[in-house]
């Protein structure tokens, strides 16, 4: 909640206030909650409305949809050099293919640290979506509702986020392959 609030307001303290206000509003309005939406969706609708109002008042209004829209330029999931070019007999096929990862390697804390760092370095909108989807386990609909973006948009952001994190992990686990010179 704090993170979602921070997308709209200036600083963390304000975001904390908005979260508190939201809980109060939720507790006081729970009788009006009709189960047409999930409780979570309802909660975040209240949160984003409050955060938006607060953000406008404080002069910081960067709607999330604007951040999300800033990612329209092409951003290939995998370095194009890893594939055969258009003049080859198999254009678009793997030239430097990925290899299998041992499952236990993915459980090591050092590996998790690499993932965490890669997530940290993502552009803001991508980071928000991957946190909500892959760490908090939200559904696509919950994410698009809470952030006020389309379903397609949240998927593009998630896809770019996951692809970048995968690439970072591959650089760590298979440095020679990631460099495109197996």
């Amino acid at each position: 909640m704090l993170r979602v609030a921070q997308m709209y307001v200036r600083d963390r303290a304000t975001a904390e206030e908005v979260v508190q206000e939201t809980w109060l509003a939720v507790l006081n309005g729970i009788d009006r909650f009709e189960e047409r939406s999930t409780l979570k969706t309802w909660l975040f609708r209240i949160l984003t409305n409050r955060a938006k109002t607060r953000g406008q008042r404080d002069g910081r209004m960067v709607p999330f949809s604007a951040l999300a829209g800033a990612s329209d330029e092409p951003d290939p999931s995998v370095d194009p050099d890893r594939f055969f070019g258009p003049d080859s007999p198999h254009p678009g096929a793997w030239a430097a293919p990925p290899v299998g990862w041992p499952e236990e390697k993915l459980l090591e804390s050092e590996t998790l640290g690499v993932i965490e760092m890669a997530i940290d370095e993502l552009p803001e909108a991508q980071r928000d979506v991957i946190l909500l989807r892959d760490i908090d386990g939200w559904t696509p609909m919950e994410v698009s509702d809470a952030l006020g973006i389309t379903d397609g948009n949240q998927r593009v952001l998630l896809h770019r986020a996951r692809s970048r994190v995968r690439a970072a992990l591959e650089r760590y686990l298979n440095p020679e392959i990631a460099a495109g010179t197996p």
Partner: protein, 86 residues
């Protein structure tokens, strides 16, 4: 109708992985995706990497809300909801 379904290249497949996992591919693309995966060990490896990555990411926790603050809030919420008539 194979005639109308262009074969999927590896480079195209890697762009569709998230839509594939979300079940939001069109039927036609889903078919092309499945057909490609069946015959391509490299893309199978790629897909498996993504699965492992998503599972591993799910093991990370958020540190935004410190645990005791969250517990306190939940306790308060429970106490509060018990006091209210249903």
């Amino acid at each position: 109708m194979r005639l109308f379904s262009r074969e999927m290249a590896c480079q195209e497949l890697v762009e569709l992985v998230t839509a594939y996992f979300d079940g939001s591919l069109s039927r036609r693309d889903r078919r092309r995706f499945d057909a490609h995966i069946r015959g391509c060990e490299h893309c199978t490896a790629y897909l498996e990497q993504m699965r492992l990555l998503i599972a591993a990411t799910g093991r990370l926790t958020e540190e935004d809300i410190p645990t005791d603050a969250r517990d306190e809030l939940l306790a308060a919420f429970r106490g509060w909801s018990q006091e209210r008539p249903v």
